[in-house]
Amino acid sequence: MNKVLAAIFSLNTLSAAIRMATPIALAAMGGTFSERSGVINIGLEGMILTGAFAGVAGSFYTGSPWVGLLLALFAGGLLAAIFAIFTVKFKANHVVAGVGLNIFALGLTTWLMQVLWGTRGTSPNVNGLPRVTIPVLNRIPVIDKLFANQSPIVYMMFLLIIVGWIFLFKTPYGLRIRMTGERPEAADTLGINVRRIKYFSVILSGVLSGLGGAYLSLGHLNWFSMNMSAGRGYMALAANIFGQWNPLGGLGASFLFSFSEAVQIRLQSINLGVGNELIQMIPYVITIAVLAGAVIKSRPPEALGEHYGNEK
């Protein structure tokens, strides 16, 4: 039992949880922006996957992981732009279009992997992003490990979440986004360009998810594998809901999911005599439990999932 508790509450587990929360929290904030503007975004999954692929492709062809990172942001944003055109301009059902987008992204990345590298499993190894240690914070006892030798995207994530929160709740732009998701007619009356706000928010969600994807393929690992996102986009959407459509809340929820994932991985390694499959279920069970417990209190944006007229 002590062994189990030690595994759960060790600093290594905590550090691993922060690393694993990174892509989920980034995509969750993407989901927050998209849904605050009124667009349900099931497509986060495909955007993470595309970002992960583009990151590796960029690093493979230029040798620079930083170029890969930029390409990941661009690819995530591009896929999101397609999603925005379908949901905003062509008024497609958000959930159906999102599912279609995810299948499209899965097919496209798996196909491209075979076209470019002739393999369906994993891509060749590429140059990943270097690990970074934050000078002062790594001297503080106990939490030093959390700030040493992490991928730069982990630090970026913390920074972006804070900036995103300020942007959404403390600036006039954020107010416009929130108003678009709550009362698009009123926003329109006030001269806010509802469509432009939606395009901006959805594309931003793709850029953030693309960054999350780049973390998977260039930060955490340094290759791409088929269906690498493995459901993180859906977890991100759940984290966004549990986090009450708030970047900080989304970070907290992402951390809860990734912590259970980190514990799960640690528990597998100490061999409890319980089937590994049962331990692997933990994060999924927790996601369901949290969602079922949390949504009673939470209220989504008023006009979420609806199309706003405003023809042409």
Binding site: I42, A97, E277
Partner: protein, 360 residues
């Protein structure tokens, strides 16, 4: 007669216009697929030729097309039933895993029963398992509002892990593969066409299509179910017990999805193999969307996707184009079908050039 008026006439024949949109969506998706094939340095026409021959070139190939469409009939129907009630059942994948495992366990545990008893028993067990698994997200949605899209996806992971756990620890047969032993011969579904792999599962699929059509259009439950899907608060105001209808709808949806697993075990694999599904539950979403959530539409869409699956094999064999390209096409079909106004725009662009596009 100018093209515009033909277009208008076709559009005015309601029902036909939806079919037209679906067909156009498929054509456009295949066109984009062809462009991708061309860009990757292959011959698109040749690829689609082999795709077509692989799907329809001989009796055996047609039987393969039908065989591949069977699980999609079930999962497509399952998703469509949920949709009719406003519920997005992405969990058909997990439900079919439980259906498959329970069917296999029943058939293996009762080897002395005659086929007349064992076949229906195994089928019912499988669909009941699927129903129970699907009722969970239905219950959570109706009582707490937990969105079924996320809960069903999480339950998919839990189902594949759970069935793998049970097989590994309790039902594993000798050998390197995590699978059960084979089910008794009398539990296998009889062949429909000799010298092919096609079984009576196809007839069962068509029967379930007709039953679903009857349920939706001619029963009071079907009416309640659609009313909840159209306008939840109006349905509640009208005295429909919406919460219970949601749970029941999910259970029916899951029962149908479970049959996808049962018929694969009894008709194709002859045993339960862990992680056997190449995503039948997810393709079922595409099938339901393309079939407009109507039972007969689902049947047609399942046949089309079955043809893509069957043809994919020969396309890969003869042209070395990765079959995943067809996954891209499937995703595009869903996107296009979801956006009828896109289809309109795309056809105007293709058909009439820029000048007429302005009229739209």
């Amino acid at each position: 007669m100018n093209p515009k008026s033909i277009w208008q006439r076709l559009k005015n024949l309601s029902g036909l216009s939806e079919l037209l949109y679906s067909l156009l969506a498929i054509v456009f998706a295949l066109l984009i697929g062809a462009i991708l094939i061309y860009l990757s340095g292959h011959d698109a026409l040749g690829a689609y030729y082999h795709l077509f021959v692989g799907a329809f070139g001989s009796t055996y190939n047609i039987a393969q097309t039908l065989l591949k469409s069977i699980p999609l009939i079930f999962t497509g129907l399952a998703v469509a039933i949920g949709f009719q009630s406003g519920l997005f059942n992405i969990g058909a994948e997990g439900q079919l895993y439980w259906g498959a495992l329970i069917t296999a366990i029943i058939a293996i545990s009762l080897p002395n029963l005659s086929g007349f008893v064992l076949v229906p028993l195994a089928l019912m067990g499988g669909s009941l398992a699927g129903a129970i698994w699907a009722a969970i997200p239905g219950y959570l949605k109706s009582r707490t509002g937990a969105h079924e899209v996320i809960t069903t996806i999480m339950l998919n992971y839990i189902a594949t892990l759970g069935t793998t756990f049970l097989v590994k620890n309790f039902f594993k047969t000798q050998g390197p593969v995590d699978q059960t032993k084979t089910i008794p011969t009398q539990a296998r579904l009889p062949k429909l066409i000799p010298n092919t792999r096609l079984t009576w599962a196809l007839i069962l699929g068509i029967a379930v299509v007709l039953a679903t059509k009857f349920l939706l259009s001619s029963t009071s439950l079907g009416f309640d179910l659609k009313a909840v899907g159209k306008n939840l608060s109006a349905a509640q105001y009208g005295g429909i017990p919406a919460r219970n209808v949601m749970v029941l709808t999910m259970a029916i949806s899951g029962a149908v999805a479970g049959l996808a697993g049962s018929t694969i075990v009894m008709g194709v694999l002859g045993r339960f193999i862990t992680n056997f599904s190449p995503g039948y539950g997810f393709t079922g979403i595409a099938v339901a969307v393309l079939g407009r959530n109507r039972p007969i539409g689902v049947l047609g869409a399942a046949l089309l996707f079955g043809a893509l699956e069957a043809g994919k094999v020969s396309m890969q064999l003869f042209t070395e184009i990765p079959g995943d390209l067809l996954t891209v096409v499937q995703g595009l079909v869903i996107l296009f079908v979801a956006a009828p106004s896109f289809i309109r725009l795309f056809s105007t662009l293709l058909g009439r050039g820029k000048g007429l596009f302005a009229n739209e």
